[in-house]
């Protein structure tokens, strides 16, 4: 395989010194952390003085205090700390509410008030895109499309490893249907998607689909460059299957190095922390990994869409 094929997967030379953009703060900077605006006060319904936030102000020994939560008397510094904590809690609550509204169930909140997950999900018509519960993503590997038997066999083995990797970390289920491997059709009935070889001239190493793609586009395509790439071959399939279960590229997020390829981010949802080692991150800007392994952060993000791995449950028949 030529080096240019590697570049098609957006491998960017490490010699470029990327400017790392900091992710946007998840908690908006409170107004009071900037230049302090003149303090305003007005009267409350009972005739007492209140500040701009509606909290009662009291004067004790010549010093102004603010009363919050009924009985907490805070000086100006304490009020700022209290306001900061309140803002973080509110932001965490809003995140949780947003995820619950989107059908994630109860989201985990870490000590920083952010949701501890990664991966970029997809949203369509205001709802998260994922496969229905109970869906078994059946597939076959179309033997007749591969010019070499050993290439077919490698893909069969690597698909089993890659699907097992996702099944081990979240509640998704794949099923290999080898009886359809010899199908003459490129779109055999009986599986959700086929895996097939295609000579794409190195336009990609492998390509997959998203859950909301039309059924005719549900296929994993393998270019000849797959068999010579220096990326981990199972990892490439882990990455492609990540698309197939609804995850977009991690490097399209604001925290990624600017040299990483840009994409339209419409219809995506950032589940918070950027993970430069994510299985969905390209090797670009000095981050990413040729292993394309599923990270612990990927696991948390995937479980927000699909729940824990099915093997974690003691399933009972009705």
């Amino acid at each position: 395989m030529s080096e240019s094929l590697e570049l098609d997967l957006y491998e960017i030379s490490d010699s470029q010194e990327p400017e790392i953009k900091r992710p946007a703060e998840s908690v908006p900077t409170p107004r009071w952390r900037g230049e302090q605006p003149p303090r305003e006060s007005k009267q409350d319904a009972g005739g007492g003085e209140v500040d701009e936030d509606g909290h009662r102000i009291v004067l004790i020994d010549g010093e102004t205090f603010t009363v919050v939560e009924g009985d907490l008397v805070l000086d100006i510094d304490q009020k700022e700390l209290w306001q900061e904590a309140l803002t973080i809690r509110q932001s965490a609550f809003n995140n949780q509410l947003r995820l619950q509204t989107a059908g994630f169930g109860e989201a985990a909140i870490n000590q920083y008030g952010t949701v501890s997950s990664a991966l970029v999900g997809m949203v369509q018509d205001g709802k998260l895109v994922r496969w229905s519960p109970q869906t078994v993503l059946s597939y076959c590997v179309l033997k007749n499309t591969f010019p070499r038997r050993e290439w077919y066999e490698e893909v069969v083995t690597n698909m089993q490893l890659a699907t097992a990797a996702w099944e081990a970390i979240c509640g998704i289920k794949f099923s290999y249907v080898p009886s359809l491997d010899s199908s003459a059709s490129v779109r055999p009935a009986g599986v959700v998607f086929p895996v097939r070889y295609i000579g794409a001239g190195g336009a990609f190493i492998a390509a997959a689909f998203f859950p909301n793609d039309p059924p005719s586009r549900r296929r994993v395509l393998i270019d000849p460059s797959y068999f010579t790439t220096s990326f981990d071959h199972v990892g490439v399939l882990r990455h492609e299957l990540g698309h197939a279960i609804g995850f977009r590229h991690e490097h399209i997020r604001s925290g990624a190095p600017p040299v990483c390829p840009h994409e339209d981010t419409t219809g995506t949802i950032n589940l918070t922390d950027y993970d430069p080692q994510s299985v969905m991150h390209y090797f670009c800007g000095g981050v990413g990994s040729r292993k394309l392994a599923i990270t612990p952060v990927d696991r948390i993000g995937a479980q927000q869409l699909y729940g824990p791995p099915l093997a974690a449950f003691q399933l009972q028949e009705a």
Partner: protein, 78 residues
């Protein structure tokens, strides 16, 4: 009949938009940078290294990235 993509459905709701964008030199220049593959007699563009999109999908992707206000006012300013 296969389901429509959300991008095709969007462009169908705005008659003339597809043709208008397809004729824009900026769009044509961007589209021409994308690798093209033929899969099952369908022309697809490779976006982001490994995502295959049809012509309607790249029109909408381009609008989202470069003309986010296009549909406001029925693309009168384009």
């Amino acid at each position: 009949m296969d389901a429509l993509t959300s991008e095709t459905a969007l462009l169908n709701r705005h008659p003339g938009a597809r043709e208008r964008v397809a004729a824009l030199p900026d769009f044509i220049g961007w589209r021409d940078t994308l690798p093209v593959v033929e899969v099952d007699n369908e022309t697809l563009y490779v976006v982001g290294g490994d995502q295959l999109k049809d012509h309607d999908q790249i029109i909408v992707a381009w609008l989202n990235q470069f003309r986010p206000n296009f549909f406001k006012g029925e693309f009168g300013h384009e």
